[in-house]
């Protein structure tokens, strides 16, 4: 047994099972199913045809019923495994169904109709990935335009968020001034105000600034986040003041202290905030929906909602595009998570 498997399968009870082992396994496996199950279902279902999606009971993997072109019939017929009265099973194509009886033909001898009870036949299914779920939206739907809008909003908003929040955090952590804690408290207090409360005034501000129907109208209201200021300020408090004194003795201007000393040392916290900001902005739905009313400005999340019409929801496209929209967020996590766990610059101080 490898070291990894020995580590993973190690039990408290040694060779036997301690009750905590059972609880742990149940808890972890259950958690895995609850957390990861929906994601797996989403990924597989995005490859299902509309018919397979509507199937009950649902399956995890995307199956389709096999079809065959049979001589004498215009349309391809679905294949079934039928149990015949003599006990043998044969693969037959279904021509039509009348009541509980199904009229079937053998693809090899298309002339002869065989009647089979509905319950005696099971569809011949194979695994098949409906990649057209992915390719269709690229052709018929302005996916690339929505993707570009989303990327633009996310990247710009994240960059501005990092700069604005780190500046606020720098002032609130490294400068002594009257009202510093009050300012911090007010910033934190805004955490308690949800978007729905300020939606109307925010809308009128954006509209009077002429930012309605502009991507900047989506970006600007979101860039100053109390969470970001808080995370960065707490991190900057751990940067020794002596470093800043040293930089001051080294003739650094206040801007240089911020840009060349404090900001590089805050990199781990900036990475955390960048992850948050990317996820928030990428997944934003309500605010872009309010600000953007022209189709060519839609972000992905707003664009996706087009698929759910009043009468007809195109689930297969929604699922596929949801998978696509998830990819950037997952990538951000994969690449930036090491910044969370390891501070890139150890402080180098005793």
């Amino acid at each position: 047994m490898g070291v990894a498997s020995r580590f993973i399968l190690r039990r408290r009870g040694g060779k036997g099972w301690h009750w905590t082992d059972i609880v742990t396994w149940l808890w972890l496996v259950g958690g895995l199913i609850i957390m990861f199950g929906p994601a797996v279902w989403l990924a597989f279902s995005s490859f299902k045809t509309p018919a397979a999606l509507a199937e009950f009971p649902p399956s995890i993997l995307p199956y389709v019923t096999q079809q065959a072109t049979v001589q004498g019939y215009d349309k391809p017929l679905q294949l079934f495994e039928a149990k015949l009265p003599d006990g043998s099973t044969r693969v037959l194509a279904e021509v039509r169904r009348i009541g509980v009886m199904s009229q079937m033909v053998d693809p090899k001898t298309p002339g002869e109709i065989i009647k089979v009870n509905m319950n005696d036949r099971t569809p011949v299914r194979t695994l098949s990935f409906a990649t057209e779920n992915y390719t269709e939206p690229f052709v018929h739907f302005d996916f690339l335009r929505y993707l570009w809008n989303s990327v633009f909003v996310t990247v710009t908003a994240t960059l501005i968020t990092l700069i604005v929040n780190s500046m606020a955090a720098f002032a609130l952590s490294k400068y002594e001034f009257r009202g510093r804690s009050v300012a911090m408290l007010i910033i934190l207090a805004t955490l308690m105000v949800p978007l729905s409360v300020i939606m109307v005034p925010l809308y009128s501000i954006i509209s009077s600034l002429g930012l309605f129907n502009s991507l900047w109208g989506v970006i600007l209201p979101t860039v100053a986040t109390p969470t970001g200021v808080f995370i960065l300020r707490q991190y900057m408090l751990t940067i020794p003041d002596e470093l800043i004194d040293a930089a001051r003795m080294d003739k650094a201007s206040e801007w240089q202290i911020y840009w060349r000393i404090v900001l590089p040392l805050t990199a781990p916290a900036l990475a955390v905030l960048a992850i948050f900001s990317v996820v928030w902005r990428w997944n934003d739905f309500l605010w872009p929906l309010i600000v953007l009313s022209r189709r060519e400005l839609y972000t992905l999340q707003v664009g996706l909602s087009i698929y759910s019409g009043e009468l007809n929801v195109q689930w297969h496209f929604i699922l596929a595009m949801t998978v696509v929209t998830m990819i950037p967020v997952v990538l951000v996590f994969i690449f930036l998570q090491r910044f969370i766990t390891t501070g890139i610059a150890g402080t180098g101080l005793k």
């Binding site: 002596e242 004194d245 040293a246 930089a247 003795m249 080294d250 003739k251 000393i261 180098g348 005793k350």
Partner: protein, 359 residues
Amino acid sequence: MGEIKLTDVNKSFGSVHVLKDIDLHIKDGEFVVFVGPSGCGKSTLLRTIAGLEKVTGGEIQIDGKRVNEVTAADRGLAMVFQSYALYPHMSVRQNLAFGLENSNMPKAEVAERIGEAARMLEIEPYLERRPGQLSGGQRQRVAIGRAIVRRPTAFLLDEPLSNLDAELRVSTRAELAALHARIGSTMIYVTHDQVEAMTLAHRIVVMRAGKIEQIGTPLELYNTPANRFVAGFIGAPHMNFLSGEVVEKEVGNATLLIGGSHRLLVPMSDRKLSVGDKLTIGIRPQHITLANDPGSLRVKVRLVEALGSETVIHADLNGEKLLAVVPGQRQISPGDDAHFSVAGAPLHLFDGNGSRVKG
């Protein structure tokens, strides 16, 4: 040039008065050490000179110019911090170059100065490393190097050796003294370690509770401490203090009663003293000798520390602690009675306020 003059400097943080009427004149090229217990304001005084703290009263002059309103960057001073405060995300070379680049120095000159400082401090092999990859002693050199490349009018050093281990501290101390001899700039050095102060300083400034207690050369402070605090602070082990009383007074002499029964004749020119006055007598442990004659102080030995070359005896004289450092190895053990002689020892007399009484 590196002449620094402080006149009536005061500093308060809110209602806390940290520096009180500091008057100090540091000559060009001098090595001055600020020494005192923690919290005495010595670091604050250094930061005030550096310009990192604003004075709340008085005046600071550098080379004859008032610099109260001048920022830290423009005072032309360089500082070495206790934690070294090296920029952790920059290589050693970038650390050294940072201050020079900020003053828009041509690249060639920056490189030249770094090369020179690196040679002087023997840090050339580490120039491309980050501070996190250096040992404590190496970081310390880089911190000094960062000050040297600036070619400042004066160096300010804030307990630069306190993070080094004992052995490295001694060797670095010697290097610092050599460095000062070589570059000849004014250096102001803050420490709470009186040995560092004694070995490095031209002049020592002893501080307590925001005030200067005494300024003088190391030997001046050792031989004629201005008050009881300085007497107790300078010298290791600490000076012994015994309470005494004037029992007889003649012209130029006085007889003191110490330890309840022992009479001591001391020269005394102070006329204000009279019979019955209480005094504190200070005797350095190294000046006490072991004796046999019955006229000496009879003490009870509490603890003996045999160091090989010398023996430290902790003793008790009528409830007062007395410490003696005698050369060589002695056959003496705790619980023994011993006789301490102070004949011929330089005695330091302090009055009730702790001020020195003229001998």
